[in-house]
Symmetry: C2
Subunit: 279 residues, 2 copies
């Protein structure tokens, strides 16, 4: 066990921040390059290049926008990972407390085995163990729920970016065919560009496809839905009332801020996960 | 017309370098986070989390790898854009030279209309105009060919990354369902984790799908193929022998290094574009 329970997840959350920053930078740059491409095309004084690079610029800017949407979705995922990290941080004192009382009892039994303080400490240990038992159950529940929720978001975001950028790229490729690149003889002029309407059609088609896009990911099965009374749960004998039991452990009341916070994020998780992912 | 013909494309090539750097950073970070995820999972002492986060780590590392492949493909695309920029740089002196001789003639006609140097200059202007005519034709040919080639590469790379990451993400989502997140009662232990073989199967499936992946993009139509005698060209009256004419303009020989370079990249384009994109 790591000395500080939340160290590894804390580091991951931090690294994810850097990764998200990289995607934001890529999106920003892609959008800026899209404008530069359109600019360059206009300056060539070549009708075909000018029109195609302008429309291509529109498509590339939308790809940059999708990169940005992806970064925003990763930010949501990162928020869910933070809930695991926070839960880990909040469980640490409960472990420390149980250990501290255990050590104190051992020390006192050696130094002064008849001390009346032993009785008080034994009572304290029972309370500390109870609290820790709840904390560990909450940690297990939150870690599992939130890991699923986090990567549900992350992976759905990967698929959304992938599908939308593939739509844009396939339409954008059609634009390239509107540039006649047969070599001209020096002094000859180019045939007039005749694909303006076609190119506009490509933009329209892409826009329509983007609007019509729907997520087709299979929803992730979460037991939290079962706790809310949904019937289509694969029954494995752990569901009966267990959701309520954790929520109802009233002896954690007032024990510590951290347990309360854990409870809050626990029930929050139930509600979040009960929302079906659009299929 | 911009004062320096290649300024806009030069800037674009530079910005693209920054964008590529961002994708490289994202890929690096993704791979590193994948290892951190696996590490964290192991430290939880939870069999289900440990196995799933380990396998998830493998999939996420592969996604990072695909981000890196994407960056490498963009580097190829950027190399093609550089050829446009270089061509633009090489045409600039030819424009300047023609302008210089034209100005000199105008000045001399005003100052000394009977000068015998005028005849020499008129001859020089004819040569300068001929050279510029070739340079402009080469610029037009290279700009059109290379713009198509560059975005063919770029957009195919977008689609490759999209399709491969979607494959990985869809399989990775299956892993999440192997984590039973039904809440445990404090003190109760979890049902034993039984999905190790299933999880390994997911990795195998993903690996097989990645191996079986093939590009399905429509090839970009290039007139350069027609110049090589391929028959399936949409005939628009510009193809007949025009490829040869540009390659055969022998009076550019020895004129300038830049024109030679242009010629070299011109014939390079023909060969590159003649290679069919795998369908």
């Amino acid at each position: 066990m790591a000395p500080e329970l939340s160290r590894k997840m804390g580091r991951l959350v931090k690294s994810e921040n850097t990764a998200i920053g990289a995607y934001e930078a890529a999106g920003r740059e892609r959008t800026s390059i899209a404008a530069q491409l359109s600019d360059w095309g206009e300056a060539t004084d070549d009708d075909a290049i000018s029109d195609v690079s302008d429309k291509l610029g529109v498509m590339m800017a939308e790809m940059g926008e999708q990169e940005d949407v992806f970064a925003a979705n990763l930010e949501d995922y990162r928020g869910v990972l933070k809930q695991i990290r926070n839960m880990e941080s909040s469980v640490q004192p409960s472990r420390d407390q149980r250990q501290k009382v255990t050590d104190e009892i051992a020390k006192l039994k050696y130094k002064d085995p008849t001390s009346t303080r032993l009785v008080t400490l034994e009572h304290e240990l029972v309370r500390a163990e109870a609290q820790n038992l709840v904390a560990e159950a909450q940690l297990s529940n939150i870690s599992r729920q939130k890991l699923k929720e986090a990567y549900d978001i992350h992976l759905a975001a990967v698929i959304e970016r992938a599908e939308k950028q593939a739509i844009l790229a396939r339409h954008a490729r059609r634009l390239l065919n509107f540039i006649d690149d047969s070599p001209v003889v020096p002094g000859d002029s180019r045939k007039a560009y005749e694909h303006e309407a076609d190119a506009r059609k490509v933009l329209d088609d892409a826009e329509n496809d983007m609007r019509a896009w729907q997520s087709s990911v299979e929803p992730i099965v979460s037991a939290s839905s079962a706790a809310e009374g949904l019937p289509d749960r694969d029954s494995d004998g752990l569901t009966t009332g267990s959701g309520e039991v954790v929520e109802g452990v009233s002896f954690t009341e007032g024990t510590s801020k951290s347990v309360k916070r854990a409870e809050a994020s626990g029930s929050g998780a139930l509600q979040t996960e009960a929302e079906p992912i659009p299929a």
